[in-house]
């Protein structure tokens, strides 16, 4: 068993046969990791999420031999069976299957696992990898990721290319050491729809770790729809950094669903760098038992005439807890911006808890920014109305919860995924001890 040491960084890089420049980046990240203290609840960003029980070094990095070599029998078969022009399955960061249609290849679309990208598209990866979006300086776990990342996906859409079909990636964690890196680059005028699905066995025991990073780079006039769906088992500790950057008149439609995981702390940031940029962040989360989701979002208007729109909707039952802390920032000369954030929470039982903390930091004066947050229970009048039409109470509850999530579900561009998520929601609503 190995721990997070400098030697482990070297061993991983050597095993992956990486070029010198990647090893250097890993080592530089490791140096930051080494010097950064472990966050505690005394740090503002971590006030509501304690890592005290996380035995990080007991989990350790995903080195040679630790990774699975075949898809475990308990992997979610449906997750792997999504109609897409490009699809890939990875287990513990190792690619098991891969398909890219001739059509997409002919378009010049690059879609491959991150390690292949380092070998075959070194120049592009050097340019974009952890240099423009997520960097080691973002925090202890961004640095850890930079040092020990393994697996994940590289998507590159050349200038003016509109990817003919969606791309889908399934990332399964079997050994519980998961360090996936998603890097999506859309050049000027490019378009793509890409989805990452994360999962691990619901029955897995011991502490698992997902220390991932997502980097989305949307060029001028480009349009990216990125969907991230997570259904890890609840022994997972998820510590991630995600950032999207949007150029002039670019569009980023970013949708995430969080169903699984025991504890999650995610930093999700949208950067609107140039005039005309548009970004929408849609989040759906549903926690039960003792699940703990802590979502830290930022909408940064770095240029004028930009629009950001965030809607996060969460339902919580049992002892589950969610935290959403959102910030809209506008630089002094970011005039005529439109920033919107809303967080809506549905507590299905009074034992559950949600914290909702909106924030604005606006230095420009000609802006329109609004935020809204609500925490409530299922409305008795809605329940009665449905029941008065003959619908039994439990079904009525499901219908209401599904309705609550519907506006976000509609934004998921995969019919099969929507169907499956609807089933998960029904499953989670289950029967409630109270109303």
């Amino acid at each position: 068993m190995s721990e997070f040491t400098q030697d482990a960084v070297k061993a991983l890089s050597a095993y992956l046969n990486e070029p010198e420049w990647m090893l250097e980046r890993r080592l530089a990240s490791f140096a930051v990791y080494d010097q950064t203290p472990m966050p505690t609840i005394k740090d503002e960003a971590w006030r509501r999420t304690s890592l005290r029980r996380l035995k990080l070094d007991k989990i350790g990095p995903s080195l040679n031999g630790d990774a699975a070599t075949e898809l475990p029998a308990d992997a979610n078969a449906q997750m792997l069976d999504i109609a897409a022009g490009g699809s890939m399955v990875q287990v513990d960061g190792v690619r098991l299957s891969y398909e890219l249609s001739e059509e997409l290849k002919a378009q010049g679309v690059i879609f491959c696992d991150m390690h292949t990208a380092v070998q075959e598209h070194g120049e592009l990866v050097q340019k974009y990898f952890m240099s423009q979006c997520v960097t080691a300086e973002d925090g202890k776990f961004a640095a850890l990721h930079g040092a020990f990342w393994r697996g994940g996906t590289f998507v590159y859409i050349p200038e003016g290319v509109k990817a003919a079909t969606p791309l889908h990636n399934a990332l399964w964690s079997a050994n519980g050491k998961t360090f996936t890196h998603t890097l999506v680059v859309l050049e000027k005028g490019a378009e793509a729809v890409f989805s990452d699905e994360f999962g691990s066995a619901k029955t897995a025991k011991g502490q698992f770790l997902h220390n991932g990073a997502v980097e989305l780079i949307v060029g001028d006039d480009a349009h990216l729809t990125y969907v991230s769906l997570q259904e890890f088992g609840d022994n997972m500790w998820q510590l991630t950094h995600e950032r999207g950057r949007v150029g002039r008149d670019g569009k980023l439609d970013w949708i995430m669903s969080i169903m699984g995981t025991g504890l999650m702390k995610a930093f999700q940031t949208l950067e609107l760098d140039e005039e005309g940029g548009w970004g929408r962040m849609s989040g759906l989360f549903f926690g039960d038992k003792r699940q703990h989701f802590d979502l830290d979002t930022q909408q940064n208007h770095n240029a004028g005439n930009t629009v950001s729109d965030l809607l996060y909707k969460g339902a919580m039952k049992h002892q589950a807890r969610s935290v959403w802390q959102g910030m809209i920032k506008a630089l002094p000369d970011a005039q005529k911006i439109d920033g919107f954030q809303a967080n809506r929470n549905l507590l299905l039982e009074s034992s559950a808890r949600a914290d909702s903390i909106p924030g604005l930091e606006i230095e420009a004066d000609d802006v329109s920014c609004t935020h809204a947050s609500t925490i409530g229970k299922v409305d008795d009048e809605e329940l009665f109305y449905l029941m008065s039409r003959g619908i039994p109470r439990e079904l009525a509850l499901r219908i209401i919860v599904q309705g609550f999530f519907d506006p976000i579900m509609q934004r998921i561009p995969f019919e099969g995924v929507r169907q499956r998520m609807a089933e998960q929601i029904i499953d989670k609503v289950g029967s409630l001890d109270e109303s």
Partner: protein, 262 residues
């Protein structure tokens, strides 16, 4: 066999406040009863109590519906047994489309009858809904809209009647369905209700403040509610009387001051 709703000495409380103080009324299938009365006299309370709203607590009396003890049944059972309430204030349910909602309502009925029922097929449901929407002059776009969400007052009322037409009840309580409807809509809704009456032998309790509705749906009986009791019952002429003279004489006759009702 035709169903009857027999209300005997019904008392009902809201938040520990006694509102219904002994209501007696029998409604059989095929009959039209108009229920009138000043604001706050308890008409909606009666409707909610009959429909099984959890906030309205029956404290005395009994209600027999189709031979069953209605007050023992949950709200959903009452609906499936053929009792329908058209709400005075229909509730918006964001995120749930009219079509999905109605399909679930139909399927809940089928499933209650036969636990193995697989539900109405999508094409059959679409056909049914389309036909009813055409019949009740409801824009077909409504099927895909969220239930009552952002509907205008009149649209909500029409949607209630659309639901009634789809669910085919035996006895319907229509709580001020006429308020908020424009003249054309009032005609469409009334025609629809009359059709359901002749097709299904629907029994109706029309709660209304206006004679106008009763021009379109002819009542067999008219009742006046005051302070939680039905104090006068008669034929259609009673409604005309109210139209002409208001409630003053009723209140006087029953020793209720106007201030107490307000």
């Amino acid at each position: 066999m035709t169903a009857a709703l027999e209300i005997k000495n019904l008392h009902s409380a809201v938040e520990d406040q006694q509102i219904l103080k002994g209501v007696n009324l029998t409604v059989r299938q095929g009959e039209v009863h108009a229920l009138m009365g000043p604001n706050g006299s308890g008409k909606s309370t009666l409707a909610y109590t009959l429909a099984g709203h959890p906030f309205y607590e029956p404290t005395a009396g009994e209600v027999v519906y189709d031979g069953q003890d209605l007050l023992e049944m949950d709200a959903d059972e009452r609906s499936r047994a053929g009792l329908f309430l058209a709400f005075q204030y229909p509730v918006a349910i964001p995120g749930v489309t009219v079509a999905n909602f109605l399909r679930q309502s139909i399927n809940s009925r089928r499933k209650a009858e036969n636990p193995d029922d697989k539900g109405i097929s999508i094409p059959a449901f679409r056909r049914l809904l389309k036909q009813k929407m055409t019949e009740f002059n409801v824009d077909h776009k409504f099927a895909g809209r969220y239930l009552n969400d952002g509907f205008s007052g009149g649209e909500k009322k029409r949607a209630e009647i659309l639901q009634m037409a789809v669910l085919e009840p035996k006895i319907a309580i229509m709580d001020e369905t006429d308020s908020g409807l424009d003249i054309d809509a009032l005609k469409v809704v009334s025609d629809g209700a009359n059709r359901l009456k002749s097709e299904l032998n629907l029994g109706m309790v029309l709660i209304t403040h206006y004679q106008r509705l009763l021009d379109y749906i002819k009542p067999d009986y008219v009742h006046i509610m005051l302070e939680g009791r039905i104090v006068e019952s008669g034929g259609p002429e009673l409604a005309l009387e109210l139209e002409k003279h208001g409630y003053g004489w009723v209140m006087e006759k029953h020793g209720v001051s106007a201030a107490a009702e307000a």
